[in-house]
């Protein structure tokens, strides 16, 4: 099985999708000849032609709008928003249109579109290249939100997202593109080579949407995480010596509530980790659900370890980033109650 970095796995997913389904069309800023600023679409235009993989104007709203129109025609568009921070100009088309088209037409039309976008911090991108806006979209009925944490999942989930007939937001943790990252920014960068989750089949496969994955089995406490934070959580558990059950959600909507409830009912404790600002982040929904479904099993308040409620500050990104130390402290606090 070939070893792939996350960016290679994402590229491979689109390659497979383009090859299997002539209706797949890929476009976005710089994704054509150049292959994307993160190289996610490298070689795809050369391989599948300009009419199926092409550059788009700098118009996120127009990109999503035309994708919806193509979807209505019968295509299966996969578009890239260059940074998740730049998805906001497309909010109306995503929220008012893609999300509601199937509902408002009683199923006559729908939006089988996939919106890929790198998200998250850790690359000194400042407040406009570091955001994690997933929480906003989880509030909107009709959208699915997917966030992979490793190459294998990235490819399988992206293929599932593309083949899904509902609009899917596929947020890619850019800090993981080229290697796993546990939050120790001062240590040498790691590569995906040799990582067990970097063994990625070259061919088609799907990781189903809506299924979480236990990345570490444990009994003392449950950690709910996704994307980059899965690696931070693993590191924090290891460093704190706390026997955590770590669930990589993989899909926020639809959520694998069963997996969460099973775990927290067993451990009685829960820490939720995400990089987005805290207030009204997806961690709030998770906390609300956990207390609702596991109330009598809970032995301590659920803690959220998240980005602060400020923009992502350029020079202070490591103070902002919820790194392994902060997560570890939360774990200790919660298990000691």
């Amino acid at each position: 099985m070939p070893s792939m970095s996350m960016i290679e796995a994402i590229n491979s997913a689109m390659d497979v999708a383009l090859a299997r389904d002539p209706d797949v069309m890929i476009f976005g800023q710089d994704v054509g000849f150049f292959g994307g600023v993160f190289r996610a679409t490298e070689h795809l235009q050369q391989r599948y032609g300009k009419q199926r993989v092409f550059d788009a104007p700098i118009s996120e709203g127009g990109i999503i709008a035309t994708a919806i129109g193509m979807g209505a025609y019968g295509k299966r568009p996969v578009v890239e928003i260059q940074f998740a921070d730049y998805i906001y100009p497309a909010t109306d088309q995503i929220v008012s249109e893609a999300a509601r088209l199937r509902y408002r037409t009683g199923g006559e039309w729908w939006s089988p579109i996939t919106i890929r976008s790198p998200y998250g911090g850790g690359i000194y991108g400042g407040q406009t290249h570091s955001q994690s806006p997933e929480g906003i979209f989880t509030h909107v009925a009709g959208l699915k939100t997917v966030i992979p944490s490793n190459p294998y999942d990235a490819k399988g989930l992206l293929i599932a997202a593309i083949e899904d007939d509902d609009p899917v937001l596929f947020f890619e943790p850019k800090r993981l593109y080229n290697g796993p990252f546990d939050g120790h920014h001062d240590r040498p960068v790691q590569s995906w080579a040799g990582h067990v989750d970097a063994e990625v089949p070259a061919e088609h496969y799907a990781v189903p949407l809506g299924k979480a994955r236990t990345v570490r089995a444990g009994d003392e406490i449950t950690i709910l995480a996704y994307g980059t934070m899965v690696h931070v959580a693993l590191c924090a558990a290891q460093e704190s010596g706390i026997d955590a059950d770590i669930i990589d959600l993989r899909t926020l909507i639809p959520l694998d509530l069963d997996a969460i409830v099973e775990s927290v009912s067993r451990t009685g404790r829960c820490v939720i980790v995400h990089e987005a600002t805290r207030t009204s982040g997806f961690g709030a929904e998770l906390a609300a659900l956990v207390q609702e479904h596991c109330f009598f099993a809970l032995e301590a308040p659920i803690e959220r370890v998240t980005g602060w409620d400020t923009p992502y500050p350029h020079a202070f990104e490591w103070e902002y980033f919820p790194g392994p130390q902060r997560v570890g402290e939360a774990l200790k606090r919660v298990v000691s109650i």
């Binding site: 069309m25 009419q51 199926r52 788009a56 104007p57 118009s59 709203g61 127009g62 709008a65 035309t66 994708a67 919806i68 129109g69 193509m70 979807g71 209505a72 025609y73 019968g74 295509k75 568009p77 100009p89 109306d92 088309q93 008012s96 249109e97 088209l101 199937r102 509902y103 408002r104 037409t105 009683g106 199923g107 006559e108 039309w109 729908w110 009925a141 009709g142 699915k144 899904d164 007939d165 509902d166 809506g210 909507i253 639809p254 959520l255 509530l257 069963d258």
Partner: protein
């Protein structure tokens, strides 16, 4: 050119309630005064068309100039019929709304040609992306009135399952894309549809409509940008009916230029047409359609018309414009004008017109009775409440199944 002598310039309409309505600032060029260029004309050569007005029917109902679409009498009568049916339908729907049988309605009075003539100039497999004021498209395409009414009533046969406000029709079969309550969004989507058709190498096209007011939205700009960049086979119609709820067209940027001119900045051929002239609308739509099908890219059309009624049943236009404005509108009424043309050309008479009017009223009445038998908004049958959880996603995810249970429906 406007000078901001006293601070910020705020456009004002020519007249307000209590004042004498006056449209003398509107230049109405004679019918036939604009030439018809070949469809493969260099767009740069016809920039002037964005500032002129293509008119075919003169004040006497005679056909003038190169834009005569050359329609048969039967086609013209079909057009007249569809416009009259649209008006009869609108009339009844407002009445039932006033009776409380539904929540809301919007008429297209005075703008019937915009929808009907365009629909007749297009192929049935072209996709329309309309606003809420082109019900005439569905009628011209013989979509059953009762289906339309079912939607307005949100009743048990409403294909949209009671989910949309009245008049937000959708019909894949009739090539009529789902109307959105959010202004402008359909315009840029239409371009995406056309891009897909082009990528498939077929000769279908999309046509989109937008109000002059909504051209200020970003989607209008996205549409023109993408249409221009990818030379998408689409027809971008701007329905300039002078009003956007209470705001006159100057608030949308129509004070210092035309809306057709918006296309010039994108190298898109842009035509301005008398929107109350059935023949002119048909002709320019055909011209644009031929361009699109020949792989020559998009066309922008400003349809100059007038919103005769209030914005919707929630609106009272006498609060912001003179009640008599409609009566002095210089471009007349599209139905009257086509009727006059048919009469002067010997294909129609007052009697046949009156007979048709009655027949159509009856058709609307019958459809209304049938539709009401399937329920109205507040009485009779509707979809089971449990269906409100369907179609959020293709398959219902667990959290919605749980909520449906909680709802006890």
């Amino acid at each position: 050119m406007i000078r901001n002598s006293t601070g910020l310039h705020i456009p004002e309409p020519a007249h307000r309630p209590g004042e004498q309505p006056d449209f003398s600032h509107i230049t109405v060029p004679p019918a036939g005064s604009v030439g018809r260029p070949p469809v493969d004309v260099d767009p740069r050569a016809i920039r002037d068309c964005a500032f002129q007005m293509i008119r075919v029917l003169d004040d006497d109902g005679k056909v003038c100039g190169q834009w005569d679409p050359g329609l048969s009498a039967a086609e013209l009568v079909a057009g007249l019929r569809a416009m009259m049916l649209t008006r009869a339908y609108d009339t009844r729907m407002v009445r039932v709304q006033r009776q409380g049988k539904t929540s809301f309605y919007m008429k297209s009075t005075g703008e019937e040609a915009v929808a009907v003539a365009a629909a007749m100039a297009l192929r049935r497999d072209d996709m329309c992306f309309p606003t809420y004021r082109q019900q005439g498209i569905l009628i011209a395409r013989d979509w059953p009135l009762v289906e339309m009414m079912n939607q307005v009533y949100s009743n048990s046969r409403d294909r949209l399952k009671g989910r949309q406000m009245p008049i937000m029709y959708s019909s894949r079969e009739a090539g009529f894309f789902s109307i959105s309550g959010n202004l402008g969004t359909q315009y840029s989507q239409a371009v995406g549809w056309a891009m897909a058709a082009a990528a498939d190498g077929n000769d279908r096209l999309s046509a989109a409509w937008i109000g002059e007011g909504a051209t200020a939205e970003g989607d209008f700009h996205y549409a023109l940008t993408f249409a221009s960049v990818y030379q998408a086979p689409c027809i971008l119609n701007i329905v300039n009916n002078q009003w956007a709820i209470s705001s006159f067209s100057g608030i949308a940027g129509g004070e210092v230029t035309t809306f057709a001119a918006r296309g010039l900045g994108f190298g898109i051929p842009s035509l301005r047409v008398d929107g109350n002239d059935f023949l002119a609308v048909h002709a320019v739509t055909s011209w644009a359609a031929e361009r699109a099908r020949s792989g020559l890219g998009p066309t922008l059309i400003e349809l100059f018309t007038y919103r005769v009624e209030g914005h919707s049943t929630s609106d009272d236009p006498t609060r912001y414009r003179p009640a008599s404005e409609a009566s002095v509108w210089p471009l007349g009424d599209p139905i009257e004008r086509l009727k006059q043309h048919l009469i002067v050309s010997g294909h129609w008479s007052e009697d046949r017109h009156e007979a048709l009017r009655k027949e159509l009223d009856e058709e609307v009445r019958a459809a209304g009775k049938l539709s009401e038998s399937y329920g109205t908004l507040k009485e009779g049958d509707r979809w089971p409440a449990a269906t409100m959880f369907d179609d959020v996603y293709r398959e219902m995810p667990p959290h919605l199944r749980a909520q449906r249970r909680q709802a006890g429906v």
